[in-house]
Amino acid sequence: MLELLKQLCLLNGVSGDEGEVRAFLRAQAEPYADSIRTDALGNLIVFKQGAKATGNRLLLAAHMDEVGLIITHVTDEGFLKFGFVGGVDRRIAIGKPVVLGSDRVPGIISLKAIHLTDKAELKKVPKTDSLYIDIGAGSREEALKKVPLGTYGSFVSQPEEFGDGFFKARAIDDRIGCAIMLELLKEELPLDVTFAFTAQEEVGTRGAFGAAFSVTPQVALVLETTTAADLPGVDSHRRVCAPGKGPVISYMDGSTIYDRGLFEDLRRLAEDNGIPWQTKEYIAGGNDARTIQRTKQGVRVAAMSAATRYLHAPSSVASVADFKNMQELTRLFLLDQARQAN
């Protein structure tokens, strides 16, 4: 299962350019799906029948897109100017290797060497406007041949396990949700489930709108990552959550107040089955739930997340045990939903 997650984290799928991830997911899901479609926004929507015929009642959602960058201009010398897609801290981008487009043209987000940098410059973080990507091109024309304007780029990072039950990778947000949904698709399900692998979450939960509108579920569970700040020098009330302490069940974040009944269901299922759980001890962030909740007549929403350090950075860190516990708790949630469905 961790292998599947690693495979997913190696795929590039910046918001609006999810094709590579979608094709992989589609190929994996197809043998197990009763129906499968890609909608106009690029969401991959998979329906699988379960023991109980509940139709469109339950939606599971995870987003397949990730943050990244997009090429906006090429200088006469052949350097590429770019903008970030989704929330990226430029302080973490500087100096990093990237790959551009489906041909994975290698490049580096560059900055002149320290030898040439004066003390005043060292105190400031350069603005994104002043950064550029070096792809070793000799001229503007040569650069544009390899990398046309509008080409997407991703950080390069090798997924691996490390330390005491942790793993690091790019795009754990939200390939971890995609991996859990794919694994569940392969199993016998207790009720009908629609799986939405959504597009463009990172630029404002845009894909989820189309997915929820066309599916019109009554209940939706969003499988996600959430930001962990269990780091040196952070006060206890600003730590939010910590990897390794179990799935994060949210009552509220920066954009959604979750359905209280579903929050309590998940908490009860975790406690009754000896699964560790935690909640977010700080109000921040948001995910597809905000859009799904307010679709048509309204949808009851819940979110379960992997506590993840360094979200949106080239290497994020999450816990292997949390990943497995999220899958187990999602299974229990499906059973519970099947029981509750008339």
């Binding site: 009554q218 009330h237 009552y251 001890e281 909740q293 007549q297 309204g298």
Partner: protein
């Protein structure tokens, strides 16, 4: 015997109902609305819909029943509670305010001593008098909500209609206006929906799904509007306290439909109701999501002028409030073209 507007305000502001935790206020309003309703329903988000059936066009009145509030995010070892905000709370307005949880636990919102001029909510905490974390956890859990524990006063004891000082006039005074209006609208053509929405304070979330479900021809959002007729004010709005019901022209979330603005002004002229135009350059209302629901809804707003919005002591004028009731009643009765 029917309740006066002040009695209604007192009842409504005393009940727990911050954004997302509106059950108690929903139950109270459902009970108060029952004698005047043909049908009462609630939806997935928790909006309460009171229907007075008619054969004419569908008119949706919306007032939000949620209030701003605080939500516990973390409990310190020493028993202090860290909180996040539900809606627009400015720490400088609420420091050292007494707060109350749904289960009756009381506390006070305090800033850390080291905090300097600009206070952030994350530098504040609620002290409920607990000895330690263990004792605090027997009283309050992470995710529990708290509201201001301040009282309602009528400023002018001798007058029939004075000015009311109270927490949560935003939006309970609008709920009171709708309750009085639905009581007074008897003979009617229009198909009337009085909706008490949820989660307005965290981004007009409830009104979106309510409008989808009802699919109205016309809509009126009733809410307070900020009044800056006070010393040193930034002049962000146009309304003044005591000058009548506000007829909304625009705010940050909506440009009101001219037909609806005209209809409201016509109602005011015909009935001799004191009104003023409300143009607010900041803040939004339920009119925002309602007017862009489905294929679009002809939407306007009736505004109750209010000072010190979102503080523990907001002030409104009961004469303005009465004018808002009259205006809502007149609009509910007016002849509207079916869309």
């Amino acid at each position: 015997m029917s309740l006066s507007i002040l009695e209604l305000i007192s009842k409504l502001t005393a009940v727990h109902g911050p954004s997302g935790d509106e059950r108690a206020i929903r139950e109270l309003i459902a009970e108060l609305a029952k004698p005047f309703a043909d049908e009462i329903t609630s939806d997935v988000m928790g909006n309460l819909v009171v229907h007075k059936k008619g054969s004419g066009p569908k008119i949706m009145f919306a007032a939000h029943m949620d209030s701003i509030g605080l939500i516990v995010t973390h409990i310190e070892k020493e028993g202090f509670l860290r909180v996040g905000k539900l809606g627009g709370i400015s720490p400088k307005d609420v420091l050292n305010t007494r707060v109350r949880f749904k289960n009756g636990v009381r506390g006070v919102l305090v800033a850390e001593e080291k905090t300097e001029d600009k206070v952030k909510l994350e530098d504040c905490y609620i002290d409920i008098g607990a000895r330690d974390e263990e004792q605090a956890r027997t009283l309050v859990q992470v995710g529990d909500t708290a509201v201001y524990d301040t009282a309602v006063y009528n400023t002018a004891v001798a007058e029939v209609n004075g000015r009311v000082i109270s927490p949560y006039l935003d939006g309970r005074i609008a709920c009171a206006v709708l309750l009085k209006a639905m009581e007074q609208v008897t003979a009617r053509e229009n198909d009337l929906y009085f909706v008490f929405t949820v989660q307005e304070e965290v981004g007009t979330r409830g009104a979106k799904t309510a409008a989808w479900t009802i699919d109205p021809d016309y809509a009126i959002a009733v809410d307070v509007t900020d009044v800056d007729d006070t010393p040193g004010a930034a002049r962000y709005g146009t309304c003044k306290l005591g000058c009548g019901a506000g007829i909304k022209v625009m705010d940050h979330s909506v440009i009101c439909h001219p037909e609806v603005v005209d209809a409201l002004e016509r109602c005011a002229r015909d009935k001799g109701i004191a009104v003023q135009r409300d143009i607010l350059r900041a803040g939004g209302t339920d009119a925002g999501p309602i007017h862009v629901s489905r294929t679009g809804v002809r939407t306007g707003g009736i505004s109750i002028p209010c000072r010190y919005v979102h503080t523990p002591a907001e002030i409104a004028d009961l004469n303005d409030c009465a004018a808002c009731v009259e205006l809502a009643v007149a609009f509910a009765r007016s002849q509207m073209t079916a869309i």
